[in-house]
């Protein structure tokens, strides 16, 4: 993942980082915003944060729905802004 400045990329661009943490492909998982209830596939959610980390922001209300940071020690995931995530099994 490599992001540019203040312009977002799509959640799909974070696919590689996700696969470092999760066995399933999370870009096709759906996520419900805890703030406004909007549901979206993670691959479609705008991601900010440049090279510091991936900050996912809800299309409906701009609130942070998920954050993922990789540090030399491991991975930090925050999902306070999400109510539910559903990841479909592959195959």
């Amino acid at each position: 993942m490599h992001l540019h400045g203040d312009k977002p990329v799509d959640g799909n661009a974070v696919a590689g980082l996700f696969r470092e943490v999760f066995a399933l492909d999370l870009t096709t998982a759906s996520l419900i915003c805890a703030g406004c209830g909007a549901e979206a596939e993670i691959g479609s959610v705008r991601v900010f944060g440049g090279t510091m980390g991936a900050v996912f922001r809800c299309d409906g209300c701009d609130e942070v729905v998920m954050r993922l940071v990789r540090t030399p020690d491991g991975y930090w995931l925050d999902m306070q802004g999400a109510r539910r995530l559903f990841a479909r099994k592959v195959g």
């Binding site: 944060g49 440049g50 510091m52 900050v55």
Partner: protein, 206 residues
Amino acid sequence: MSDSPVTRGFKGRRGPQGPASRIPPGQHLTTDFPVLSAGPTPPIDLASWSFELQDGDTTLGEWDWDEFNALAQTDVTVDIHCVTTWSKLDTHWQGVTIDTLLEAVGLAEPPGPFTLIHCDGDYTTNVPTEDLVDGKAMIATLYEGEPLVGEHGGPARLLVPHLYFWKSAKWVRSIVFGETDDPGFWEDLGYHIYGDPWREQRYAGD
């Protein structure tokens, strides 16, 4: 990592190392001003802009844009260091120091040992009070003599140049003093609680 093959012909774009006395460990010089944001750049609306100083829930002072700009202005030329490894030398800022703000609300001493800085877009960062006073920090509104543009945090950003630049929060709206050091947006997610570039405090545990 170490077993990655070297790619012939790939140099990378790291700036020069620069003078060791001014470039902290692991940093490289840059001449542009890379942008890093945790959210979309909010539109600048000076008419509704305000800045607040708070002690917990108590408002100590609040300024609109004109009032804020009427406060005593300070110029600084400082080096800045981003945790993503670029450093930029001799950047020139103008704004209002935290000392000036405390004075303006009639306080000889800051009301608490820690602060949480609040910004548009729900960004927060924590800075110990002693790192904000005695001329160490300001709310900057001009960069290189020009009004600070939105993508660099305009109309106003915190400037705490002796800490990693994520602490110099963009689109700043209030400083809240308190008794505890509560982690901000990045400090809560793997980044160092204090962030001293000279001690290379990038991540929690560094």
